[in-house]
Amino acid sequence: MSAPAPQPVPRPDSISLDSASLGPTLSGSNRGDRPASLNRRDWLCRAARGMAPLLFSGCGLGLPKKSQYIKVGLLHSQTGPLGQSESALRDAELFALEEINARGGLLGRLIEPVAPDTRSRSEDLYPKRARKLLVEDQVPVVFGGYSAASRRAMLPLFEDQSRLLVFPAQTEGNAASPNLICGGALPNQQVLPALDWLLGSQGGNPSRLVFLGSDGLYSRTTHHIATKYLATRQRKFAAEFFIPLQGTDWAPVLDAVAEQSAQTAVLSTLAGNSNGEFYQQLRERGLNRSGGPTVLGLRLGEDELRLLPPDAIRGQLAGATYFQSLATPDNQRFVSRFKQEFGYDRVTSDAMESAYSLVHLWALAVAKAGALNLDAVRQALRDVSFAGPGGEWRIDPATQHTTKTFHLGRAGGDRQFEIIHSSAGPIPPDVFPQFAFPGWKCDLTAGGVTRGEPVDLNVPGNTPAPSAAGAHTPAPPSPSAK
């Protein structure tokens, strides 16, 4: 309702508030002979008009708007065997969100992170917490997951709700969805270059290769790809072990590693606390000394080293697409700011760099799209790039993975890795390496995933089995994928 137009009031030369001038009006005895100057009603009206801005400006400025915050989900295990590794990702994501908020937020609103704990329970708690974030908190995006199992368990919810899941950790490939952005290295960007290096002159071309991984989808798929890759080079693994996440008898592993140890290389995809246990066991058996096996960890970052005595890890190798020791100005600034914010002894790692950069990349896409919905953000992601600590970040629209540069590091006594080898350039993502997944292709801009021959991932060293009973087929295509 619009206010009535103010009537022009003849402005008196002066308003006297003495009792003589106000007397007749206040007494109320002679309403009929009001003077032409301000009467009581006008006076009150003016006073009210004068006070109104004070009152209502207060309300307008101070009242919280319903849409003051954009809630964003950060879904990681903060306790349990994976808590140590995943809480570092949470910190990197928080760091990026704080930077965005410090610049004024996104779309004129501040970002409010919601970070529940999934307690290292990939199968049940990840989807449960994700559902709460999507349904109750109505987050447009979740940065989360660490294990392949957690990603697989959550993804159908995101497809159902048309939201975006941004997965910062390494991926085994063999999956793609319009609702999924993967920022971690694929096997062709990490495992295969690591194998190339090991089998080359620099790696000593060991005669025995032992595969060691945490029992889960990532390790089994990665092992499948590595086995197929080795077959193309007429090589194979001498032994393989899949270790449960909590508690194991390391004796068989150590026995296998100790055999011809000088000629043995261990390719490890152990995750979380298992890394610490394994390196401790190696030290206790005296296998970490010169003449011992070469151990190349693929899920071993600076943050995993914090529970390890330096002498247990010194000299061991790790393959990654980022190390804290990367000598670029962007990285040095990032590390310095992170330490300033979280503490002098905090470290940054491959997955943390990925988590940090993905948050910024998503924010750039949202800013470009001017919206939070999935389609707009996916479209905008094709056109944005982010200069991350480890290099430029850009999403490949066909796979929604990223191009990465491989680095090989050797652990020093300072719990840092010295980079001893890097790939010639950035390696594009290959979600379905053809030697491991014949016929499988992925192009999310044109039809999604094209199915090929069924592949059995449960039998290590398998050959493509077109109609093997009980074959585990790769990732179920998303609703839009064919």
Binding site: G62, P64, R306, Y344
Partner: protein, 261 residues
């Protein structure tokens, strides 16, 4: 219901309360005076009668307001003490776990630092909005998990570990009290009585028979002060809400020490 006032800057909150009371009083004067004129104008001794009753009423109402103000202040002071004790226990725990063998010491200290940072950056803004923060509990659980993972190997470590556990329990107790204080405040029924009392107070002043300007001015002063009193109580109530609230200073100074070591 009126929690939105805590989102206003203090001066706006104070001004809004005071002006609202004055306006209520003025509106009352304007609407009540005609009726008063009809029924009781020129009743001899009216002002004396109203004055006596108002005096009696003000004694009871003043006592109520005074007691509530004291309660609100004590509540705020107790909560502030709880916050300080929690920060002190955290500091002591940080020192204790520093004596553990590496890498446990560093890991435990990282986790405590993480908790402190989270409390300052995320828990406090939520508390200011009247929301009990829950994610700090996750950090506490992570620390507890790491603390229980440590197995003392020497008598010295056993003593240190026992002391750390004792301090951890102490810290937990204060943390729990802080979280409970987030939603603490003067009960709604008490605010209802305060509001009724304020209204009766103003209504009695409406009954005075005097010149209009004097009525507006003198009663307006009373209404303004009444508004200011109620603003003071409201500002001190809900110790974590609004600008007049307990700051995370104790945690901030601790965190500054933690990151600068």
């Amino acid at each position: 219901m009126f929690y939105w006032v805590y989102d206003l800057p203090t001066w706006q909150f104070g001004l809004l309360t005071t002006v609202s009371f004055v306006l209520l009083y003025w509106v009352g004067v304007i609407f009540v005076r005609p009726f008063l004129r009809l029924f009781v104008r020129s009743t001899p001794g009216l002002n004396d009668v109203v004055g006596y009753i108002l005096s009696c009423f003000c004694v009871f109402y003043g006592l109520l307001l005074g007691l509530i103000a004291v309660t609100a202040y004590q509540n705020s002071a107790q909560t502030e003490a709880t916050v300080t004790r929690e920060a002190a226990a955290l500091s002591a725990l940080y020192e204790d776990v520093g004596g553990y063998p590496q890498p446990h010491a560093q890991n435990l200290r990282w986790l405590l630092r993480d908790y402190t940072r989270h409390t300052i950056r995320y828990a406090w803004p939520l508390q200011r909005r009247g929301i009990t923060p829950v994610e700090g509990g996750i950090r506490v659980a992570a620390f507890e998990e790491a603390l229980h993972r440590f197995e003392p190997q020497t008598p010295g470590q056993q003593v240190l570990h026992a002391e750390s556990l004792r301090m951890f329990n102490n810290f937990l107790e204060h943390r729990r009290m802080r979280l409970l204080a987030v939603t603490t405040g003067i009960p709604p029924v008490m605010w209802f009585v305060v509001a009724i009392g304020a209204f009766i107070n103003l209504a009695m002043v409406w009954l005075f028979d005097m010149r209009f300007t004097a009525h507006l001015f003198l009663g307006g002063l009373l209404a303004a002060y009444l508004g200011a009193m109620i603003f003071l109580i409201a500002a001190m109530d809900n110790p974590f809400r609004g600008e007049v609230s307990i700051p995370p200073t104790a945690f901030e100074s601790l965190f500054a020490k933690m990151v600068d070591e």
